[in-house]
């Protein structure tokens, strides 16, 4: 009987030693901003980003509800959903990729590590290969990741009518910020 207890204890300690458990967040943040010579700021935040990171193989995935992006202007938000992203047809945007320089990141040691992520980004039903520079921050055993990328609307079949062409830039700056917790 004692042996059994010992074995179980050993088993648990082994899993615990995998401090690199699957990491997850439901409150990741994605913001975007359209640089354009317009008085109206075209920017929005989404604070309900679902993301998982596997520190063992560097795999990374995001799932974002388009309706979760909120603008300062209600009308802009409506148009974003209705006319541009067509959120009833394409409710989600996803990313699936890998950290390419996993070997240079030590998930058990505090620090800020530059990282590059390669993967496939799906917006508006269109999937494109992307590569984005970012960083992984480890602090007190907690892992956070951030990245910046540029999204070209044309690549994802999002057309801007000529009437508002001067208000919305073709290139959208996207910022990603996720603070992970070990997945239970």
């Amino acid at each position: 009987m004692k042996k059994t207890v010992f074995l179980f204890a050993a088993a648990f300690s082994i899993t615990a030693a995998h401090a690199q458990n699957m990491q997850m967040t439901k409150t990741g943040k994605i913001s975007f901003y359209s640089r354009a010579k317009s008085i109206d700021k075209v920017e929005a935040d989404n604070n309900e980003v679902l993301s998982m990171l596997n520190p063992q193989n560097g795999e990374l995935a995001f799932s974002v509800l388009i309706k979760g992006f909120h603008f300062e202007s209600a009308l802009m938000e409506e148009h974003f959903n209705e006319n541009y992203l067509e959120s009833s047809k394409y409710p989600k945007s996803t990313f699936k990729g890998k950290i390419t320089n996993l070997s240079t990141i030590n998930f058990t040691k505090d620090g800020v590590y530059p990282a590059t992520v390669d993967g496939e980004l799906t917006i508006h039903g269109v999937t494109q290969k992307v590569s984005a520079p970012g960083s992984v921050t480890v602090k007190g055993g907690k892992i956070a990741a951030s990245a910046k990328l540029q999204v070209k609307l044309k690549d994802y079949n999002i057309s801007i009518p000529s009437l508002v062409a001067d208000k919305i830039s073709e290139d959208i700056d996207v910022t990603v910020d996720c603070k992970y917790e070990p997945k239970s």
């Binding site: 042996k3 059994t4 074995l7 179980f8 050993a10 088993a11 648990f12 082994i14 899993t15 995998h18 458990n21 699957m22 997850m24 439901k26 935040d45 679902l50 993301s51 998982m52 596997n54 063992q56 193989n57 795999e59 990374l60 995935a61 995001f62 799932s63 309706k67 909120h70 603008f71 300062e72 202007s73 209600a74 009308l75 409506e78 148009h79 959903n81 209705e82 006319n83 009833s88 047809k89 996803t94 699936k96 009518p161 009437l163 508002v164 208000k167």
Partner: protein
């Protein structure tokens, strides 16, 4: 002892096994775990269908300036340039107080009316989650003040005689991206009836909807049928010489504006006027060309708090 080894091994590897699962599939499972209520948005492009209210409200903190115009009747011929020589108009301001409550005021040239209304969203169409609803329901109450000079200033006239009320329930459903329909049970009350046989209370049932032709263009139609209900014996159920109100038109959305272009047999743009005082007969060509222009201004950052909780 050997029997024990298996579960122990399983435990050891459970972490690893998990990791080999497809990450995307795991995300999907996670998102399914907490299914959120998804509220239907943009059933119509703006808070008016054509003459009357749609289910939509101005967003919280948003001021909506509405300028509505009805030209004369097209069957007046070329002398009046098919009605373009005349015009009646209403200028109004709507404001969204909360995500459910909107208020508005307006002034019409037709009968020199002032109007004020409150509109409350009772139920919002939603899907997913608990207690989702297949329809949206709003209630609108309008008070209208006619300020034309008294017909007969010699008799004793009461100020309250100028006032009338309209109460409406709007039940709407967005069936798909392209199709939205609503019905509007309505009730109009006049404090003073003009003639002895004129009703003080008029009941009507409205119906309307839109078909989206493209992302920024939709075809709308709206009809109010006065119901043959007269609570007081010996009174008519509708005003003499009036017809039911019919309107067809297009919504064109361009950034911050919504233009509504339409044809209607109604001259007035307040509830009492188009539901009960439409004198034109649509099918005899008593049709007004008209337009509404809506321009929204975000004047309070209530919308920011809207971001947090919907």
């Amino acid at each position: 002892m050997k029997k024990l080894l298996l579960p122990v091994l399983l435990l050891c590897f459970s972490g690893k096994l998990l990791a080999q699962d497809d990450l995307m599939k795991m995300l999907d499972d996670e998102s399914k775990k907490e299914k959120k209520k998804d509220y239907t948005t943009a059933t119509f492009k703006t808070s008016r269908l054509i003459n009357g209210h749609s289910i939509e409200n101005a967003a919280p903190g948003v001021l909506d300036l509405k300028i509505s115009h009805r030209f004369g009747m097209v069957n007046k011929g070329s002398y009046e340039l098919f009605g373009l020589d005349q015009a009646t108009m209403r200028i109004g301001l709507d404001y969204g107080i909360s995500k459910r409550l909107m208020i508005g005021i307006g002034r019409s040239t037709f009968q020199k009316q002032y109007d004020a209304f409150g509109k409350f969203k009772i139920l919002r169409q939603s899907s997913g989650g608990r207690g989702s609803s297949p329809v949206s329901i709003s209630a609108v109450s309008t008070i209208m003040l006619k300020t034309l000079k008294w017909d007969d200033p010699k008799i004793q006239n009461y100020y309250t005689s100028r006032i009338s009320y309209a109460h409406q329930l709007i039940i709407a459903r967005k069936f798909s991206e392209g199709l939205s329909l609503q019905i509007m049970p309505s009730f109009v009350h006049f404090n003073l009836a003009q003639n002895l046989t004129d009703p003080n209370d008029i009941f009507a049932l409205g119906a309307g909807g839109r078909i989206k032709l493209s992302k920024r263009l939709s075809f709308n139609a709206e009809y109010y049928h006065v119901l043959p209900i007269s609570p007081v014996a010996g009174k008519n159920y509708m005003l003499p010489g009036t017809h039911n109100s019919l309107a067809v038109g297009f919504d064109i959305e361009t950034g911050g504006h919504v233009f509504q272009l339409h044809f209607t047999n109604s001259t007035g743009m307040t509830e009492r006027s188009f539901i009960t005082e439409t004198t034109g007969d649509f099918f005899k060509g008593d049709i007004h060309f008209g337009f509404n222009v809506s321009r929204v201004f975000t004047i309070s950052n209530k919308s920011k708090s809207r971001l947090k909780k919907r």
